[in-house]
């Protein structure tokens, strides 16, 4: 009873302080909002409208038909026509275009013999742009009425090409749920890690530890307000993701709540552990970023987990964000329910328990 009263006292106090700290309170809402708009619009792994030039040495109608087919893929925008490949190369070097499509003089001969019909000159310095154009290499071409249908060989259909060419393929669908993981990692760990360190820095802790409050009560009381903060943030991200980026929601709310709470708990306890190690708010911030950077790069948010080398995958597995990204993409995009995703949920709960145990053990009511 006293224990509940003390936890309640700490939670109430924390909420009051939070509501009076306008900057932090604003951050609770602004971080997800701004990040969502920023990442949702800016991060786009589907490359579109790459400026290219066309060099047609054949003067043949087939060149115009093929050019038109390349243009409608929307991967490229044709911004210039040059007479010689040398001019096109100069334009690439100058950065005016990222690539040039060159049709040789013997275009018709190549079409009829099934040879490659043209050459892409590609600025390979940006790998994303490069691979988008490389994908065009094997795009299927139809020469229509202008040429005999059996006169050339269709290249084998490639599904990567099909994916890229699907105009409905939008990055936001993949980015938004992942963004929930990144933003929660950032805010949850940062807020809690700072919360306890601030009490230490401002001397409040010296008084608190002479009171009957138990370490665990102090920890739990401090975490509760941030659970609400986390729920608000996820709601903002997924709600706006749906409104602005039409991110579908295939799953059920109960599963969403379970996986989100499991991740919030894991992040909060990690923040708590940091707060028992850090001596100053500055150190707490640094440690938060130490966790945040790999959470962005290695969690599967930016790059597919499968593409990472095995040692990176081990690190990835140790990050709560990795498990949450799998969970929330599963629930939101594939309509999976909590039972189907049990291993990752259990992992997060085990992580929470271990972190809370270590943090409580580390936080001794003493100044030694």
């Amino acid at each position: 009873m006293n224990s509940m009263r003390r936890i309640g006292a700490i939670t109430t106090k924390e909420l009051k302080q939070l509501s009076r700290d306008r900057v932090t309170f604003g951050m609770v809402v602004m971080i997800p909002l701004i990040q969502l708009l920023l990442f949702g619009f800016a991060i786009n792994s589907v490359v579109r409208d790459i400026p290219i030039a066309v060099v047609d040495l054949s003067g043949n109608v087939a060149a115009r038909i093929i050019t038109e087919q390349v243009r409608v893929t929307q991967v490229v925008t044709i911004t210039a026509f040059y007479d010689t490949p040398a001019e096109a190369e100069a334009a690439i070097v100058a950065g005016k275009v990222r690539a040039a499509l060159v049709f040789p003089e013997n275009l018709m001969q190549r079409v009829t013999s099934g040879q490659p019909v043209g050459q892409w000159l590609v600025d390979g310095s940006d790998t994303m742009v490069g691979s988008a154009l490389l994908a065009l290499r094997s795009m299927p071409l139809l020469l229509g009425a202008g040429a005999p249908q059996d006169a050339y060989r269709m290249p084998d259909p490639s599904f990567e090409v099909a994916l890229f060419f699907n105009p409905e393929r939008r990055s936001a669908v993949n980015i938004v749920p992942g963004l929930a993981a990144i933003i929660l990692t950032m805010t949850m760990i940062m807020f809690t890690s700072i919360a306890l360190v601030r009490e230490r820095e401002q001397g409040n802790l010296e008084l608190l530890i002479t009171t009957p409050v138990h370490s665990l009560e102090l920890m739990v009381g401090k975490l509760i307000p941030y659970i609400f903060v986390g729920i608000i943030q996820v709601t903002i991200i997924l709600g706006l993701g749906r409104l602005i980026f039409q991110v579908p929601f295939q799953g059920d709310f109960a599963s969403l709540a379970i996986v989100t709470l499991a991740f919030i708990a894991a992040s909060l306890t990690l923040g708590l552990l940091i707060s028992t190690i850090a001596k100053t708010q500055m150190q707490a911030m640094q440690m938060t970023f130490f966790i945040l950077i790999p959470s962005i790069l290695l969690s599967g948010f930016m790059f597919p987990y499968e593409a990472m080398p095995v040692p990176a995958q081990y690190i990835s597995e140790a990050l709560p964000a990795t498990h949450f990204i799998r969970l929330i993409r599963g629930v939101v995009l594939r309509g999976a329910n909590a039972a189907q995703l049990l291993p990752d949920i259990l992992w997060l709960l085990a992580f929470t328990t271990i972190m809370l145990a270590i943090a409580t053990k580390r936080f001794r009511k003493s100044l030694d």
Binding site: L208, T211, P212, S366
Partner: protein, 308 residues
Amino acid sequence: MTESAIQARQLTRHFGDVVAVDGVDLEIPRGQIYGFLGPNGSGKTTIIRMLCGLLTPTAGDISVLGLKIPTQAEALRLKIGYMTQKFSLYDDLTVAENMQFMGRIYGLRRSDARERIEQLLDRYALAAMRDRLAGAMSGGQRQRMALAIATLHSPTVLFLDEPTSAVDPENRRDFWEKLFDLSDGGTTILVSTHYMDEAERCHQLAILETGQLRNHGTPIELMGQLDGRVVEITGSSLRQVKEQALQLPQVQSTAQQGLQLRVLLRRGSTDAVGYLREQLGNTELSIELTKPSLEDVFVASTGSGDGR
């Protein structure tokens, strides 16, 4: 149970190579105001923290209200109030909110807490600023609030670590009035200070220097120890007299106070006036014995280190 509220034997604390507290023995009777007098770094805060169970002694035994510290520190929490040297309440909560928070932390029932808070707001003249943020109050107001909160759960022992360091003399006097009220009600109060006037108000005093207990007793006793050793010299060119006096083997220290030079002689000195008159050889000077002050006690107990 003993009559002492606090007992410590050979209390020692090291921080790495630094010896912060070195074999201190304490015996603090119940219901008294007991003062720790010492310069910064003399170990006052470290001793208080050890007595509260916040720091583990490197060596020595502590018993507070019959409880072994630090092993039984949790049982002690409800019985002690602690006012830290640095203001340790929440700047971004109001006076009333701070009190409500600590009341709940101490497990006071809502109705009891409300009643107690009203009582304390009234007693410590804080009622008018109950809704003011703690961060927006003056030093004296914060001090009153901190004391009110330290006594919220009616503790038997109060630890006050330099409670008046940021308070003007007027507020300091009020503050001490409150301490005497509490002491009158049976509360044992341990207060550290580096103000002589405050130390003089304590029932008993311990003088600390570099972690060691240099002297202890009631202020009257302590000053009595110096009878016959404090001399006041009046006359001209006192700066020169001072230089001259400091060369004498029997002189422990000198301090000029306006037109007078106060000279403290070493322990064992007899006929202080005659000795000085002979040694200084200046017939124009008026040399008289005077009543020792607590400052003399402090200087005699510390500084050159040969103590009582």
